[in-house]
Structure formats: C-alpha cells, structure tokens
Amino acid sequence: MFLNQFLMLAAALFCIGVYGVIARKNGVMVLMSIELILNAVNINLVAFSAMTGALSGQVFALFVIAVAAAEVGVGLAIVLAIFRNYRTVDLDQVDLMKG
C-alpha cells in the first residue's frame, strides 16, 4: 500500500468538510462537516504512524478524538443557545455581529 493513497483520501475528505463548513446553512450540519475534517486528520496521523512505526501518531489520533468530543459538546450547546434566542439554526439569519 502506498502512503499517498491514504493521504489523498484524507485530503479529499478534508476538502469535502471545508465545503460543508462554508456552504451549509444548518448549524448542526456545520459541526458535522468539522467532524469530517477531524477524521481526515486522524487518517493522516495513523497512516504516518504505520509508515514510520512510531506510536506517537496513534496517541495524537486518540487526543484528536477526545478533543472532537469536547468540541461537539460545546458546539452543540452553542447551537442550542442560538436556537433558543433566534428560534432558528439557519446561520444566514444569525448576523448580529456582522456590522
């Protein structure tokens, strides 16, 4: 197996995630796209770990999973707070700080 086939797949997932973050209206969907991005990073870390034989990559993948869990918790709390105040999760309508 080539290292690059994993890296390319992760890059494609990353870009799909970036598209989702920019283009989706629903706040929950933006958080899901961020999960896609974090997963792409995890694939990269584990692929490099398998390539070099060092275990640090897998440790960092575990750290990323833990941080992703924390991020989803806080992110969904923010989305819920937005929903409570605006009665919507449409990010186009949340423009209080747009200036």
Binding site: K25, A50, V59, A61, A70, A77
Partner: protein
Amino acid sequence: MIAAVLAAAQNADAPILVAQNVAFGIIAVLMLVSAVRVVTAANVVHAAAFLVVVLAGAAALFILLGAEFVAITQVLVYIGAIVVLFLFGIMLTRAPMEGTESVSRDNWALAGLSGFVLLALLGYTLWDGFGRDKIPSTLEPTDTGALSDVIFGQYLVPFEVVSLLLLAALVGAIVIARRD
C-alpha cells in the same frame, strides 16, 4: 537469475497486498460518496446516518493500518457518543428548518471552488512530497500495551491536559446550554 526471481517473489507478497488494496478501494469509495452525501443531503437525519458510514470507514482504515485500539476508540467515541449527541442536537433544533427552500447558502459555488482549489493544492503537494513512498508490507497490528506505555509515559502530561479539557468543555457546555 533464479536468485533474483526468488528475491522478487519474497519481496512481492502479492496476494496480501492485493486484498489490502481492494479493501482500501471499497472503503475509500464508500467514504467519499458518504462524505459528499453528508454535506449535500437535504434531510439532516440522513446526513447523520451518512456520517456514521464515513466514521465506520475511517475505523476500517485504522484496522487496515494495524491501529486496532484507535479503531475501537473511533467506534466507541465517534459512532457511539458523538453521533448520538448530533441526533439529540437535530431533535432539539429541527422543526423550523423544515420547508426552507435550500439546504445550502448562496455562496455554495464559491465554497465548492475553494474546496477544489484546496484539493488540487493538497494533491499536488502530497504527490510532490511523498510520491510513491510505501507503507511497510511487514505491518504488524499495534500492541495496545506498547501504545498505553507511550500514552502514560512520554505523553502523560498532554494526556492529563486532555482530561482537564474534557472537564472544562463539559462545564462550559452546561453553562452555555442551560436556561436561566
């Protein structure tokens, strides 16, 4: 001549690699299709279901790379906990999104363009940097004991920081989400 053929046969170990590559191809196609559906699906619950496929595909890739513990953690934490959290978020915020005309914002074409440009840049950089580097074909499943030695040895302080971060995120989420 015979020695060279024997050496090539020893280096080739073709059947295993073919199986691995076929598995990788199937998983990769599944993951890419599901990921595209995650960011394009009109129904938010369907998007969450496709997210499960992407996360399970990532876990399968980890097993393919011999990282068993990371794969199991991925299934436990991502599919078991995070997706359920997403479903709760969808349930609590869903109703007013029904009947909206479009799931994407007006700048979706620009977003797609930036995604493609990023993919082209990343693809070129990766190809330039790693070319045909191979993952060693003698890849063994990672010893979970060795992994835990690394976590609780070399990375003990970051590990404790992550636990503190989880605690802080928990408290912060409660503070943000509770109604006063």
